[in-house]
């Protein structure tokens, strides 16, 4: 059966439109990627395929046809009969969508039971199809006893259990590390092909689209702006927005950045961190030279955030030493001098958590100056204004509260705050991971310009190897608390020496 969405209109209960006449069609065995940034309405469009609308949203027109039935014209019990059986959904965050107090075998069996075909063998069968163990003991596990990737595959199993004709996958690999993501993509592709399923793959990641989708639809502000075969849309985009998105995608291939000469400014020497039995960092040593950007790459659990926090003084729970210009820094920020605090600054990952919601942007950005320098009020004001200009935030935004700014603007304000004391080293911890890809591009642009203009060094911590050429001179790969590989970006990307790096490069989807 195919999925045909025609002129779907959805609005909030007070009447403001969310989707403005969205149309797309998926044939059996085909994978259509629905691409858009946050707020584009892609999840709403995806859930509509199951006839489901979140609290506060109502359908305002159009048709959603599965096979030859318009779901929107059915009553709720009739829709329920289709959900899980004919049309299935794989949610984004498996940790939130699996019931924490039911065993996973039970949760898969539930779908079968709900549609009148309880079948213990089918449960084992579908677990095998997604590459998970099928034994009784595994089926009796609770979700929290599984890793993120395994939980996601349970979610996929639940979706495919009744052999649906249409499957909607809502960002199923966001939040998974690259290797797991590759596995999940493979599984989804195989299942969709084998069962001739019409699959809607919702994502913001264009590189993933290139890897898995036959056709692409690009969404923006509740409208589809471009549709077509993947090759065509990604290779020869016709709409300006699509081109913008493509431009913003960081690329692993490209010219080698010019070499960088500099003296070490910030160094970690033999830093080890352990919590009880678990060793998070094992004798790690890295140096950041003046004026360069060193990318610290690692997946979740590699210890990269811990290392960046040791360097910045946010955690004092380590052995080894951190040196600034060869002089050891006190481990905790509470013991560092004002000069040391000025020199090493930190930008947090989440722009929604790093600014005080009750302070204006200007007040937040001014804080380091008030505490760490002897500038008077007028000088501080001037400096704050100057910094806001540099991060391309208009001075008019200075008197707003954080909730009046977008994620990207907030992150730039946080960067301004970190730079206001002209540090020599800026530690950026996953600063773009919470941002849309186009916003990410802007932030990286700003960082590059600032580095060039102010001559500071940057330690850029991330899990996304694709950003390497966009922002870094050298790259250090962290695996299980140890440095696996370290060197100039071009060398590491084109001639990796460590197996892990090779694996990462192989598994990272490219356009």
């Amino acid at each position: 059966m195919s999925l045909d969405v025609t002129d779907l209109r959805v609005s909030t209960v007070d009447g403001s439109p969310v989707l403005h006449g969205v149309s797309y069609a998926i044939a059996p065995g085909e994978i259509l990627a629905l691409v858009g940034e946050s707020g584009s309405g892609k999840t709403t469009a995806g859930l509509a395929a199951l006839g489901h609308f979140r609290r506060g949203l109502v359908p305002a027109g159009g048709a959603v046809t599965v096979g030859d039935t318009d779901i929107l014209s059915l009553t709720e019990p009739e829709r329920r009969a289709l959900r899980g059986r004919a049309v299935a959904y794989v949610p984004q965050d498996p940790a939130l969508s699996l019931n924490p107090s039911l065993r996973i075998g039970r949760q898969i069996a539930e779908v079968l039971e709900a549609h009148g075909a309880p079948d213990a063998e089918r449960v084992a069968e579908v677990l095998a199809e997604v590459g998970l163990p099928t034994d009784e003991a595994y089926q009796r596990r609770y979700p929290h006893q599984l890793s993120g990737g395994q939980q996601q595959r349970v979610g996929i199993a639940m979706a495919f259990a009744c052999r649906p004709s249409v499957v909607v996958l809502d960002e199923p690999t966001t939040g998974l590390d690259v290797t797991t993501q590759a596995l999940v993509l493979e599984t989804v592709g195989a299942l969709a092909a084998e069962h001739q399923v019409a699959a809607l793959y919702i994502t913001h990641d264009l590189a993933v689209v290139a890897q898995i989708a036959d056709r692409v639809a690009v969404m923006r502000d509740g409208r589809i702006v471009e549709t077509g075969a993947t090759r065509d849309v990604l290779g020869h985009p016709t709409h300006a927005y699509t081109r913008e998105l493509l431009d913003a995608v960081p690329s692993l291939d490209g010219p080698a950045p010019a070499g960088h000469e500099g003296t070490p400014v910030l160094a970690a020497k033999d830093v080890s961190v352990s919590y009880g039995e678990i060793d998070v960092l094992r004798g790690v040593g890295i140096t950041v030279d003046s004026g360069e950007c060193l990318m610290l790459l690692g997946e979740s659990g590699s210890g990269k955030t811990t290392l960046s926090q040791c360097l910045s003084g946010l955690t004092a729970h380590y052995t080894g030493s951190v040196e600034l210009d060869g002089v050891a820094l006190p481990p905790s920020v509470r013991r560092r001098s004002a000069a040391q605090l000025r020199d090493v600054q930190y930008v947090f990952q989440s722009p929604f958590s790093s600014l005080n919601p009750r302070k204006t942007i200007a007040q937040s950005v001014e804080l380091p100056l008030t505490r760490l320098t002897t500038m008077d009020k007028a000088q501080r004001r001037e400096r704050v204004a100057e910094m806001l200009d540099r991060v391309r935030l208009g001075r008019s935004l200075a008197h707003r509260l954080p909730d009046q700014l977008s994620g990207g603007e907030r992150q730039r304000a946080a960067i301004a705050r970190a730079l206001v004391t002209t540090p020599r080293v800026l530690v950026c911890d996953e600063v773009t991971s919470a941002l849309d890809v186009s916003v990410q591009a802007t932030v990286l642009d700003v960082l590059n310009d600032l580095r060039r203009d102010m001559g500071m060094a940057i330690l850029f911590v991330t899990h996304n190897i694709a950003l390497a050429r966009e922002v870094a001179d050298r790259i250090a790969v962290l695996l299980d608390g140890r440095i696996a590989e370290c060197g100039p970006v071009d060398d590491v990307l084109t001639r990796p020496t460590h197996a892990y790096t090779r694996e990462l490069l192989a598994n990272t989807p490219r356009l």
Partner: protein, 315 residues
Amino acid sequence: MTRLIIRRLVVSLAVLWLVTLLVFIATLLLPGDPARAILGQQATPERVAALQHQLNLDAPVWERYLDWLGGVLTGDLGFSTSTQGSVNSLLGDRIVASLVLLVAAAVISTAVGLALGTWTAIRRGRAVDHTVSGISLVIAALPEFVIGMALIILLSTTVFRIFPSVTLTRPGAQVWSEPGQLVLPVLTLVLVVTPYITRMMRATMSEVLDSGFVEMARLKGLRERTVIVRHAFPHAIGPVAQVIALQLAWLAGGVVVVEFLFRYPGIGQALIDAVNKRDVEVVQAITLLIAAMYIVVNLLADIVGIVTNPKVAAR
């Protein structure tokens, strides 16, 4: 999991012990000489000294504490100066009488509160929800003696004359021999506590109904009833248990005013009498009993929370 429960138990015991200390220390705040206060100004020095010795007031403080604590642990709650008898005999029947009120109120209010809370969460935003919320808000505001008084005016003296406004038990008979007289006291207690339970249940249930896994259950095509009973409700119980415990534990103190209002022969009434007569040992005993009840109910609630948490239970 057992380790967590044992740890909770130990903490509760520690708190209970500190409570006994606090109760005992409070009695040291009595200004002047308790013996003299009891016997009055006219008492001869010999009589005062005799009473002091009888009350063990001439021993060092820590010895008096251990003495008292030892008595409590072996079941002897002390000597009542107002009835000139043991505290035990004074309280025995009364504890049972108060328990009747408390258990009845606890069962009714929990059942009604959970049911109403779940129902209004499911019908969130509709007329039923608003009505129940509004009524809850008004009732929750009123002090309990006002609720009791209002019930008396409505059902006992002025508007209708259905239930008695005071409890009259023949000596020797149990309070439940005349069930009609239990209605208003229990109803008062129920009205005081149910609004909070309803509110808490509604809030927790609403949160659970909005959660990702409940949405997922709906998207799997499960019937709404299965979604609510199997997926939503069990997740609301854990967090609500603690609040319910707090409310029920509150009943242990709330019973005081209610008993006074309806002249109900329970430990609350006994406490008021003892305070008025400065009968120290009785006040000590009842306060300790009530605090102990509170600690026990809280411990039970914590255990419910531990047992229903899948991340802990699955070890």
